[in-house]
Amino acid sequence: MNANDLPKDIAQTAIQQDLMGAVRAIAQGPLAQRAQSIDQEGLYPQDLLQQLAAVGGMSAHLDQAGKPGDYKAAIAAMAEVGKVCGASAFMMWCQAVCGLYMQSSGNPALTGERLQAHMQGLGLGGTGLSNPMKSFAQIENLLLKATPIEGGGYRVNGTLPWISNLAGDHYFGAIAAVMDGDQSAGREVMFILKCDAPGVTLKECPKFSGMEGTGTYAVQCKDLIITAADIVADPARPYIRTIRAAFVMLQCGIAAGIVQGAIDSIWAVESQLGHVNQYLDDRPQDLQAELDDLVGRVMTMAETPFDTSTEFFIDVLNARTEGAELCLRASQSALMHQGARGYLMNSDVQRRVREAQFVAIVTPAIKHLRKEIASLSAEELPA
């Protein structure tokens, strides 16, 4: 066997080796023990997420005193967890982007103690930007409506389906259309929505085929009051432009982890089944070469996460698309390589197929990404 064909640890590309060691210890220890119950029983691993936060696994990308944010480390940490449990990597992303919203809001009420608590895992949160992202891409309409109230602030109504990493005392970034009476005022407001605020109800979602245990709920808002202390950006659109690349780029960590996990499970049976597996498509060395190439590009982009140019964003969307496509191929290939043993309900191999499908359909889904790349690539002409 060629040494170059051996599985390469994605984390090698990270510069924060201490952080990676701590994240790996949690991932391969208690998280590996619990990955099946997260998936099968839908157990939300709040304590493990808090442990990951406590070692800095979900805040490496945020600027801290004397330590500028490191997107490479944040992506590598997510990948390390994703090798073991895709659902947990996804929840890390939820927590990471929520932290990004708070820090980049410039709102002292969000960047102070609330952000500190968030970074340490004392507060947990997510993101409700699936609907607004699709709305901005002309795929669907905004579901939350915000009516300005006297003395500042807004009254918010509407229901968002499927927001993850939530529990009764959690919170998430949301966007609502600002209303002028019955009409849209032509702008949006972004804010942190607290799940325990008056007027907010969390509703259980139907059972999904995968990614159970991610604390996913529909969120109903009835006359929820938003004050200046909650505002991330008003108007929201110019702000979204500044964070969109970082938001999408971080998701590449989930994909990288799932792909690496799939490749590792192919190698795990190579000595026994290599004699017959050699006839399969997408052999591990091929997948590894593609993954290394992709991760290399993502890590280069991670050095400039706030580049607002269209060309850069297309590069990020491309990488995200390739990550999703590679997830589908690698997880499927791992199942082919493992055969019946990978098809057992307690096998991580079949679970990873469902996790990969999630990466391909969660916002931005492959089709959404392609539509966005096409529209960003088109020459802009007068209307």
């Binding site: 491309n318 790349i373 020459e379 007068p382």
Partner: protein
């Protein structure tokens, strides 16, 4: 040629225009110019003009289409396909003149190789030079499309992926990534052309750039049927031709340039003075020595302001500031870049052995040559190489530049930039 005149029963021949690629077929003649079907090239009067670009007979040369019978002789010599299963074939990026010509030249020598053509536009086939003369020649907009993309694809046996952006080339796996999935290639040909450049101070949402049919049709729709005020920023070839044609269509043109006269590249040939003289009775106002610093939309009209403080209020603004080659694909494939995709002058191969390029996106020794005449020869060169035929070395020739200012057509020589 005198021979054909004396032997009327001889096979009809075809002649190609060096300037625009129009093919004169003796069998069909050119009835619009009074040449009946069957008119021999030798019998055409010397003052006859190319119906497409208006150069004269002396700029035509004999055109010999490849005999379909040679296809079979040629095909087996091609390299064996890579990998398992069916032939992967050729992927072409771009469906302008260069892309379609490439597909046709491959089909001329190989009837079977799979060809996939990826294009961001509809793939409809049209003659770009007509966009500069459509009003003068009273060409109806719906007549600009010679053949739809789907029809051309069917005729040539090409898998056309229209409205599809090519986003990345992975040279390791020989795969082209697009917004409609990935496509493996044995040979990749880049024919994606160049884009109209937009100076940084001109906002894209307010300024037209006319480098393809779709933009032209949208501009014409925006102009409507009544005379409008139009500012054209840049008085090079395209700016001057558009000014000429839109003025003949009744629109009032303000043509702006940083140079003191139009067509300043051909100052030595007094091109600018000649067109200004020819335009004296047309509604074209040329304003030289100015640089546009802002374009703003105020109450539905465009306010164009120059650095020296002049202001022009118009209905539409067209930027004609030259072309630039997009570098996304070349960069992803680490192709050598020299002011465009650098290609070998003889083989038109890029720095990657499996990738060739032709048309507006290439440069030879740093020089782009964005004219139509070389494209057919380039396509034949590349087709011969990738189909394994006898090599057809490409020859760089100075182009004949025909300025399609119909009020005074000029023939100029290509000048290196």
């Amino acid at each position: 040629m005198t021979q054909s005149a004396s032997a009327p029963q001889a096979e009809y021949l075809q002649y190609i225009c060096n300037a625009c690629g129009y093919i004169y077929k003796e069998a069909d003649g050119d009835p619009d110019s009074g040449l009946a079907p069957g008119t021999r090239f030798a019998d055409i009067p010397d003052d006859w003009e190319c119906p497409l670009c208006a150069v004269t007979k002396s700029d035509f040369v004999l055109y010999q289409p490849v005999d379909p019978r040679t296809r079979q002789a040629c095909a087996p010599a091609r390299p064996a396909p890579r990998g398992k299963g069916a032939r992967v074939g050729v992927v072409i990026v771009g469906a302008g003149r260069a892309g379609w010509q490439m597909a046709q030249s491959i089909r001329d020598v190989d009837a079977d190789v799979p060809i996939t053509l990826v294009t961001a536009c509809s793939g409809d086939v049209y003659d770009k030079p007509l966009l500069s003369v459509a009003m003068a020649k009273h060409i109806a907009l719906e007549q600009l499309v010679r053949e739809t993309g789907a029809q051309a694809a069917q005729r040539m046996g090409v898998n056309l992926l229209a409205q599809t952006q090519a986003t990345r080339i992975c040279t390791r796996t020989q795969t082209l990534h697009t917004t409609r999935g990935k496509h493996a290639y044995e040979q990749l040909v880049l024919a994606h052309g160049a884009q109209a450049a937009l100076p940084a101070n001109l906002p894209a949402e307010l300024c037209w750039r006319i480098n393809h049919l779709d933009a032209y049709l949208r501009l014409r729709a925006a102009l409507g049927e009544t005379p409008k005020d139009v500012a054209i920023v840049g008085a090079g070839l395209i700016g001057s031709e558009l000014a000429n044609d839109l003025a003949l269509g009744g629109h009032r043109i303000t043509l702006l340039d940083v140079q003191p006269e139009p067509l300043a590249r051909w100052q030595a040939e007094h091109a600018g003075q000649q067109v200004l003289q020819a335009w004296k009775d047309l509604p074209i106002r040329f304003v030289g020595n100015v640089s546009v610093c802002t374009v703003e939309k105020i109450d539905g009209r465009m306010h164009v302001t120059t650095a020296c403080g002049q202001q022009f209020v118009v209905d539409q603004v067209i930027a004609a500031a030259g072309l630039q080659t997009p570098n996304r694909l070349a960069q992803a494939a680490s192709l050598e870049w020299n002011n465009g995709i650098a290609v070998d002058p003889i083989s038109l191969r890029t720095s990657n052995a499996s990738i060739h390029a032709l048309g507006d996106c290439i440069t030879v020794q740093g020089q782009a040559s964005r004219f139509i005449e070389p494209i057919a020869r380039q396509a034949r060169t590349i087709a011969a190489t990738i189909c394994g035929c006898e090599p057809v070395p490409y020859e760089v020739r100075p182009a004949v530049v025909r300025v399609k200012t119909t009020s005074l057509p000029l023939t100029l020589s290509e000048i290196g930039r």
